[in-house]
């Protein structure tokens, strides 16, 4: 049985002619190695047949219409995924077929576009994070975070990671999953709804068996830990400091973790260029000190010259990677997040260092406006002393229910700590709120009024 379809160029005549060249009587001859018992006679029963472009678009659009998109309501969610303005040229450029439909640049002579982008991306990321080097990206921030812990274990030959209570709980969960199977010990502090992160408790947990200290900056409640003090304490015990940045725009305003002594800095790059996308694909950022280069996971692009002496770029140091080292590789990671890295890099190029700093100031000022307005809502208390564009508030009742009721009033009013930490009663009344350059004064007022209504 044959089907003429818009994506399949072979005609019936082509197929017949090609079978003749091959010397096969029918297509079934080419599947002769598949035991008959495992072969299906025809299309799988009970599933629909092919559909036109119009029909598929109608189906998908109907599903999309069932959702309340972030742009359709006052929106204040963050907690590891941030909604920022992405300039129109970013999406236009990443849809160029030469980027979109290229593969991993294994043939560098005809992949200099992708390779130069990766080299520029690595440089941008290293400068942003304050590290000597950066790789060509990982899956996302949470997986990059585990890879950093695994790398610290290889470097220090120790198995115990000390984790701040301010690390995003999904990042901690990812790490805990992996550690269960690799035999690493994860010593995580419990999160506390307090004005300042408990750096002293974290420092007290570091000992001579500690491979690394994992600290989010700003942390999951938006507070800012004292990385320099933690770095000094970690390094005094021979442990590495891993700083985790889930909101890279913050680094337009706050000092880069690498400049404060972090040995490895990982992050979620989604804020720049990538968009929310319901959680993926995102973009793992990974930078470290140069002396740890050979222990780094993931692809690396390096500069070299071609046979004519012209500058060019190649994937390099690949003996660390799975396709060469197989079971001895630094990681099993194969792919990177190439197209997301391109989007990040374009957005960063459009901003430049001063543009990023201004964007960060706008974010912070908007968050400050939000905090000041919510502080005037009866029953709401702002928790943080310091924050960038995200902070926690306490409510007089369970915040999860409040978020649901706000959604009924068509306001996407933040992320409840109950959603992030189910079953932790001490956090149940906590709510995380984020404001970015996209948040308007009207949005803030609508949230405040809705919140007053829900809490009344």
């Amino acid at each position: 049985m044959e089907t003429d379809m818009r994506y399949l160029p072979l005609t019936s005549a082509d197929r017949a002619e090609m079978l003749g060249v091959i010397g096969a009587a029918s297509i079934d001859d080419l599947f002769a190695d598949v035991p008959a018992a495992a072969q299906l006679d025809g299309p799988i029963a009970g599933l629909p047949g092919h559909a036109s472009e119009m029909a598929v678009e109608r189906h998908m659009a109907a599903l999309a219409a069932k959702n309340v998109s972030a742009g359709a309501a006052p929106f204040f969610l963050g907690a590891g995924a941030y909604r920022h303005h992405v300039p129109a040229s970013v999406d236009h450029l990443i849809q160029r077929g030469e980027f979109l439909t290229a593969y991993t640049p294994y043939q560098p002579e005809i992949a200099q576009g992708t390779l130069q982008v990766l080299f520029e991306f690595q440089t941008q990321v290293a400068r942003l994070l304050g590290t000597d080097v950066a790789n060509a990206s990982m899956y996302d921030g949470s997986t990059a975070c585990w890879e950093a812990v695994a790398m610290a274990g290889r470097i220090t030959r120790r198995k115990r990671a000390v984790v701040s209570g301010g690390l995003h709980p999904h990042y901690l969960a990812t790490m805990t999953t992996m550690a269960r199977f690799t035999g690493d010990e994860i010593d995580a502090r419990a999160p506390k709804l307090e004005a300042e992160p408990d750096d002293a408790a974290l420092i007290a947990a570091i000992d001579g068996e500690t491979s690394c200290v994992v600290v989010q900056y700003p942390d999951v409640l938006g507070r800012v830990p004292d990385l320099a003090a933690i770095a000094a304490a970690a390094q005094a015990q021979g442990a590495l400091l891993i700083a985790v940045v889930t909101e890279p725009v913050a680094l337009g305003l706050l000092e880069a973790p690498g400049n404060l002594g972090a040995d490895i800095v990982v992050g979620e790059g989604q804020s720049l260029g990538v968009g929310l996308q319901f959680g993926g694909p995102y973009l793992g950022l990974f930078g470290c000190r140069e002396k740890f280069l050979r222990q780094m996971p993931g692809r690396l692009c390096g500069q070299t010259v071609d046979a004519d002496g012209k500058r060019g770029f190649v994937l390099t140091l690949s003996t660390r990677e799975q396709h060469i080292r197989r079971e001895k590789a630094t990681s099993n990671i194969c792919t990177n997040a190439g197209l997301c890295a391109l989007a990040f890099s374009i957005h960063m190029t459009l901003l430049g260092g001063e543009g990023l700093a201004r964007l960060a100031r706008v974010n912070h000022a908007t968050a400050r406006k939000l905090a000041d307005r919510l502080a005037r809502v009866p029953g709401v208390g702002v928790v943080n002393n310091a924050y960038f564009n995200e902070f926690a508030v306490t409510l007089p009742e369970d915040a999860r229910e409040v978020v649901r009721l706000l959604a009924d009033r068509h306001v996407l009013g933040g992320v409840s700590l109950g959603r992030l930490y189910p079953g932790v009663n001490a956090l149940a009344n906590g709510l995380l709120l984020t404001a970015t350059e996209l948040t308007t004064d009207e949005d803030i007022e609508m949230l405040a009024i809705a919140l007053e209504g829900v809490l009344a």
């Binding site: 072979l10 002579e109 576009g113 950066a134 010259v305 071609d306 100031r361 943080n384």
Partner: protein, 523 residues
């Protein structure tokens, strides 16, 4: 007649005979464009985004954390940015330009409808932690795709969160490890055929297993006797690629699965090559316990120059209870729920091994893959497999007289045709043929993989190549094989016509330059 000709140009002037002799001041050569780095073009103060400076100061508590100077990152205005990246894009080969026959990579056409639907604000502009009542349509997309994947593979369930193929392998092996732990056993060995992709042994090691290789037969398939002999109480399972990396279907797959199960182990199938059998064979009928599906291969989500990928893992009934969180589930009322840690038990998933990553997987890839699947339907997907296999066999039989095809005698190939460097004259290698293809305007095939064949050339045309396109490719590769036979020295230095000649990879690895520095500029 108006004889006025202010330019002075005449057609007979044409172009210079020897293009190499034409020097240009700019460094560009017609449409072959050179492009500087943004660090050489931009300035930190330049910006392509307008923002008003805010009126208020930072909160006092932030003062001691403020950075002293903005990051040293160059900016460009929009026209400069668009030009920079557009010029760079022209140094890339891509599927949109021609065949991209990388074996095992499945470089097929990326339908543009899929790009369009993925960008609908109802999908692209959703926060992963938004209240469930506001994202029912998105959860429905994940669940519909999950149901298709389960049906197409004949499996029991699917874990949607893995972010790429290798991440899916990890998911499958963690399920196996959790299942073995739940039985109170400690099996530490994973058997992997020599021909496996490097991610297989790397994943097994990353998941804390010991890896042992199992040999292949002379016919390019798993050595069943050697495998059976190694099975025992320390073996947790096997990782087998089917169709395998030599482009052959593992005829004995069901026998292998039965033997592994009888010995108490589990069967992981690397589903990188599922595109060869989709709609014709269900892995569930072959005794598979877990298999990842590269949505960027079989279901054509774009490769994007190296990601993002997406690697859902279909699971057997035995492994399903251990799959990761979160996942989607439809209740009797038809509503699709997102099941996270707190609801796992209520949804019968108390043994879940946990979270593999933040959030719910590669949503942007799910929308594209679902659109692809709906476009093809059950009949079209079967046709996809048949045309992919037909095209590969056409390539195999059209080249086997000029290139050595080590397994050609063992029957038809599946979706990719494998050749070796056997028979090339002294001094000529697989690499030379690959680089020669670049001058011919094609992307080379996969080279030097699988490792079990010397100088391997693995060609996967995919179903989206026309016969005319294949004939052009075959013609070029035949001519290159003949040039190699004639020991044409110019082939040794190919490519000559690409944006770059062969690059010095030794220099790059010996003296790594991974970030741009003022001093390292020039060159």
């Amino acid at each position: 007649m108006n004889a006025h000709n202010p330019s002075g140009w005449r057609p007979e002037m044409g172009e210079g005979g020897n293009l190499d002799a034409v020097a240009t001041t700019s460094g560009d050569r017609g449409l072959m464009l050179e492009e500087a780095l943004i660090f050489e073009l931009g300035a930190p103060g330049k910006c392509g985004v307008e923002l008003d400076e805010p009126a208020c100061d930072p909160v006092p508590g932030l003062a001691r954390f403020l950075r002293k100077a903005p990051p040293a990152l160059p900016g460009l205005t929009e026209p400069e940015t668009v030009r920079h990246y557009t010029r760079l894009s022209r140094q890339n080969y891509a599927i949109d330009l021609g065949p991209f026959p990388l074996g095992s990579c499945t470089m097929k056409h990326n339908p543009r409808l899929n790009e369009k639907v993925a960008r609908l604000p109802g999908f692209a502009d959703l926060h992963p932690l938004a209240p469930q009542q506001t994202v029912r349509g998105a959860l429905e997309v994940i669940n519909q795709l999950a149901e298709w994947l389960i049906t197409l593979t004949g499996m029991h369930g699917v874990a949607m969160t893995p972010k790429a193929g290798a991440h899916g392998e990890l998911c499958g092996l963690l399920c196996i490890k959790a299942a073995i732990e739940a039985r109170g056993e400690a099996r530490s060995v994973i058997l992997v055929p020599e021909s496996a992709h490097g991610t297989n042994p790397a994943t097994a090691a990353f998941a804390g297993f010991t890896v042992e290789a199992i040999p292949a037969t002379a016919a390019g398939r798993v050595d069943l006797a050697a495998l059976a002999a190694r099975l025992g109480p320390d073996v947790a399972g096997v990782m087998i690629t089917n169709p395998n990396t030599c482009g052959l279907f593992e005829r004995e797959m069901k026998t292998i699965s039965d033997a592994v199960h009888a010995a108490g182990g589990y069967v992981y199938c690397d589903g990188a090559n599922f595109n060869a059998i989709v709609g014709r064979v269900r892995p569930g009928d072959l005794g598979i316990d877990a298999m990842h599906i590269n949505l960027h291969k079989t279901f054509s989500t774009p490769h994007g120059g190296g990601g993002p990928g997406s690697g859902p893992v279909v699971l057997s009934e035995a492994l399903c209870p251990f799959g990761p969180l979160p996942f989607t589930a439809r209740t009797a009322d038809g509503v699709v729920h997102l099941v996270e840690e707190e609801d796992a038990e209520a949804f019968g998933h108390a043994q879940a091994f946990g979270r593999m990553a933040a959030f719910h997987g590669q949503m942007g890839m799910f929308t594209r893959a679902l659109a692809y699947i709906l476009s093809h339907g059950a009949d079209g997907l079967r046709q996809v497999a048949e045309d992919a296999v037909l095209n590969a066999n056409y390539v195999l039989r059209s080249l086997e007289d000029v290139l050595s095809a080590p397994f050609a005698a063992s029957g038809p190939c599946m979706h990719e045709a494998l050749f070796s460097d056997d028979g090339l004259p002294e001094g000529f290698s697989t690499l030379d043929l690959a680089k020669g293809l670049i001058d011919e305007g094609f992307h080379p095939m996969t080279v030097y993989f699988p490792l079990v064949v010397h100088g391997a050339m693995l060609i996967e045309p995919t179903e989206t190549e026309s016969k005319a396109g294949l004939d052009r490719f075959i013609g070029s590769l035949r001519s290159l094989a003949e040039r190699a036979r004639a020991s044409d020295p110019s082939l040794k230095t190919a490519p000559h016509l690409a944006p770059r000649r062969r690059l010095d990879e030794t220099l790059a690895a010996r003296k790594p330059v991974l970030v741009w520095k003022e001093a390292a500029a020039g060159g």
